[in-house]
């Protein structure tokens, strides 16, 4: 059974629509800047920030003044609504529709602002409940009007790729006809300081797969896809943007945060995805790599890619130099980029690459390249050794 992608919605540092994102990707315009909305002592760092303030987002969404949406929830609601509009879904609850959302930051951006203030005054206590990851999803579901199977995945930076898998399985097992899948994360002091304490944030622009890479830029954003069963589509006759051909998840079982030297988990995830898609590695024309630009990830991922593709290496690029690392949103943002690449038959450039790594032969695509792409593969890896691979097909 094939799973159709019929809608996509995105908000990221490089745009608040599919078109805007595509424009930046095509013309190599990064979204990495200094922060305007985040209050942090580490304001010398660069971020992939969405340039809308919380107030502006609330206005765009038409939220009431007493809403308790965190920034994460607002970004998510924005992108999920766009995805449904893109899919031209009329009555969302006419068919069995679910929402699988992913987040890791969740309502932390508000909690970290008011943690002690909660005790002192009742004013911001409305954010106590919206701290929970599940409640971010509830807010999004409420905003887009989904009633039914709604849940949340949080497996760190592979979260939204996993949400896509869960959604696909729900359609495959006949439990749902349609599912909105994706993820959202906002910038927060919590993650900035977390990654900073791990010393994997770069003080400049991130440079995936470069020998001199110094770490990642944190980003924020949200992206959702509408997945539908072919049975439902036959009835409704709406255009299909792409198909989810295969997917796989595996665990590196190596270290809490670091990836293994051999990229075992990544290798297994890609292997599973190819098997489910029934594809030989050679069928893949473009890989949107996880490529966070940390020393550890890129080497591990490169080794895994070499193990899978051998001498049939497809074009590879990481789009993190455009958006920064959007954590739980990265998987779905990059899934959309993979589909856009296929739709427009373009390999997006891996910005900031200068020096190849010594340990591996891989070199990412550095400029925009027109190419026939029938199958695109997207990797997402997270803390806890969580490795996920999605494969999209044009037909």
């Amino acid at each position: 059974m094939r799973i159709a992608v019929t809608g996509m919605g995105i908000i990221s540092a490089i745009g608040t629509s599919l078109e805007e994102n595509l424009y930046h990707l095509k013309y190599g315009v990064t979204g990495i800047t200094r922060s305007e909305n985040l209050s942090t002592r580490h304001n010398g760092l660069l971020f992939g920030e969405v340039k809308f303030s919380n107030e502006h987002l609330a206005r765009l969404l038409g939220l009431p003044a007493d809403n308790n949406f965190s920034r994460t929830a607002m970004l998510g609601a924005y992108a999920a609504q766009q995805a449904l509009e893109n899919a031209a879904v009329k009555d969302i609850n006419h068919s069995r529709t679910g929402l699988i959302s992913a987040s890791s930051v969740s309502g932390m951006d508000m909690t970290e602002k008011y943690l002690y203030d909660f005790k002192e005054s009742a004013e911001h206590r409305k954010y106590i409940d919206s701290h929970h990851t599940g409640n971010v999803t509830h807010q999004i579901a409420g905003y887009i009007g989904v009633k039914g199977l709604v849940t949340t995945i949080s497996t760190a930076c592979s979260s939204s790729a996993n949400a896509i898998m869960m959604g696909a399985n729900l359609i495959r097992t006949g439990r749902l006809d349609r599912v909105v899948v994706g993820g959202t994360d906002a910038l927060a002091k919590f993650t900035v300081n977390g990654f900073n304490s791990l010393m994997i944030l770069t003080d400049g622009y991130n440079r995936p797969f470069d020998a001199n890479r110094k770490g990642l830029n944190l980003g924020e954003g949200a992206a959702y896809l509408v997945l539908e069963s072919e049975t439902l589509l036959k009835k409704e006759d709406r255009p299909v943007l792409a198909y989810l051909a295969g997917y796989g998840n595996a665990n590196d079982a190596y270290h809490q945060t670091a990836s293994s030297e051999t990229g075992e988990g990544a290798f297994l995830a890609m292997e599973k995805a190819l098997a489910l898609a029934g594809l030989e590695p050679g069928a893949i024309s473009y890989v949107n790599a996880h490529g966070t630009a940390t020393v550890n990830n890129d080497l591990s991922e490169a080794r895994a890619l070499e193990r899978i593709f051998g001498n049939q290496m497809p074009d590879i690029s990481s789009t993190k130099p455009f958006t920064g690392h959007t954590l739980a949103a990265a998987g779905s943002i990059e899934a959309i980029y993979s589909i856009l690449a296929m739709k427009h038959q373009l390999v997006f450039p891996n910005l900031n690459f200068q020096t190849p790594m010594e340990e591996v032969a891989i070199q990412p695509q550095q400029t925009l390249k027109e190419k026939k792409i029938d199958f695109a593969l997207s990797n997402s890896f997270g803390f806890g050794g969580n490795c996920s691979t999605l494969i999209f097909s044009k037909k």
Binding site: L115, G148, N196
Partner: protein, 344 residues
């Protein structure tokens, strides 16, 4: 599609549920508004070096999962799927306070690393060197049910022969205080919420039954938000999908927690009032997001042993064989779930 069996289960809760007994010595605590989990002796399972950085949730989960795996005879499962409603809040709180108290300086990464929601699933995988599918669900009161649903699908889609699936939640004093502030948790003054607790429940699901099999797990379903009026059709619709009528359910395990949303459970019990025995359990366990893992443990054992623990006091004069069991849970009117079990 393969049938799915519960071949093993273990629970850690505010009761001594880890000793192999079946609530014979359970005690109802009427004094406290927070019921801490009774922790097993971790030393017997985890080396002090390994456990020193583990939060309570991780330790509870590692031990419950080890016991379940041991009972099932599976050494390394094909998949590990975890649910946690609040995640690793001990470490989250620790890191958060460190950021605020030290104005974003002098931070060490340990608690940040451990604060990630999938820490539990990852630690179990790491311990078992399990490279299989590894998912974590974090959606309030359906966190465990989401994990369970995924586990069932992994087996149905033949992506796994056996799955370790579980739910775990821990609590911190400050977090409890916040819940009390907004009336979700009971304090002596605010009485609208529930008595809070913590715990872990892990199970081994498989496509083939074994000698240890408790029950077949037919299905699980979730619904994000329902009005009380919509509840009966949600339940009957789910049963109908499995060719069952309410009259064919023998036991309902309901998640009443004493808060103002218990009307949902009353409505559900009403639907089965002429047919099934309804038992509640949160008087023993308190409320936490993944407490339904305890409900599954309870229901599984009741089916296997055909015996309802005395302390649950069903006061059922007319007793019948327990074949079909429905577990219903919700929290504060959100995150409704149904789990359907069958005697094997």
């Amino acid at each position: 599609m393969s049938k799915v069996y519960i071949n093993a289960g273990a629970a850690i809760s505010a009761q001594a549920t880890f000793d192999g007994g079946f609530l014979e010595n359970a005690v109802i605590n009427r004094q406290d508004v927070f019921l801490p989990a009774i922790e097993p002796d971790y030393k017997a399972f985890i080396s002090p070096v390994a456990s020193r950085r583990m939060s309570k949730a991780v330790k509870m989960a590692i031990i419950a999962s080890a016991q379940a795996l041991n009972e099932s005879g599976v050494s390394v499962p094909d998949a590990i799927i975890t649910g946690t409603g609040a995640g690793c809040i001990i470490d989250s709180e620790k890191f958060l306070k460190a950021i605020i108290d030290n104005d974003e300086q002098f931070l060490t990464p340990t608690s940040f690393i451990q604060s990630t929601h999938n820490t539990v699933g990852a630690q179990i995988a790491l311990g078992l060197n399990c490279k299989g599918y590894n998912f974590t669900y974090v959606n309030g009161a359906v966190s465990f049910e989401s994990a369970l649903l995924d586990a069932i699908m992994q087996i149905e889609l033949q992506q796994a022969n056996n799955v370790l699936v579980g739910g775990v939640d821990e609590m911190t004093p400050y977090f409890l205080e916040l819940q009390q502030m907004i009336g979700h948790a009971k304090s002596d003054i605010a009485t609208v919420g529930s008595v809070q607790s913590e715990g872990a429940g892990f199970f081994v699901l498989a496509n083939t039954p074994t000698e240890s099999t408790y029950a077949a797990i037919e299905d699980v379903t979730l619904y994000n938000k329902l009005s009380i009026a919509e509840l009966p059709s949600f339940i009957t619709g789910f049963l109908r999908k499995h060719h069952l009528e309410p009259s064919q359910i023998d036991l309902v395990v309901a998640g009443n927690n004493g808060d103002v949303f218990d009307d949902y459970y009353d409505k559900a019990a009403h639907l089965f009032r002429n047919y099934a025995i309804t038992v509640q359990y949160k008087q023993l366990t308190g409320e936490y997001f993944t407490v339904s893992a305890f409900a599954l443990w309870l229901a599984s054992r009741i089916i296997k042993e055909q015996h309802i623990p005395e302390i649950l006091k069903p006061h059922a004069v007319k007793h019948k064989a327990i074949k079909n069991v429905l577990i219903y849970n919700q929290y504060r009117g959100l995150d409704h779930s149904l789990i359907l079990l069958k005697r094997v």
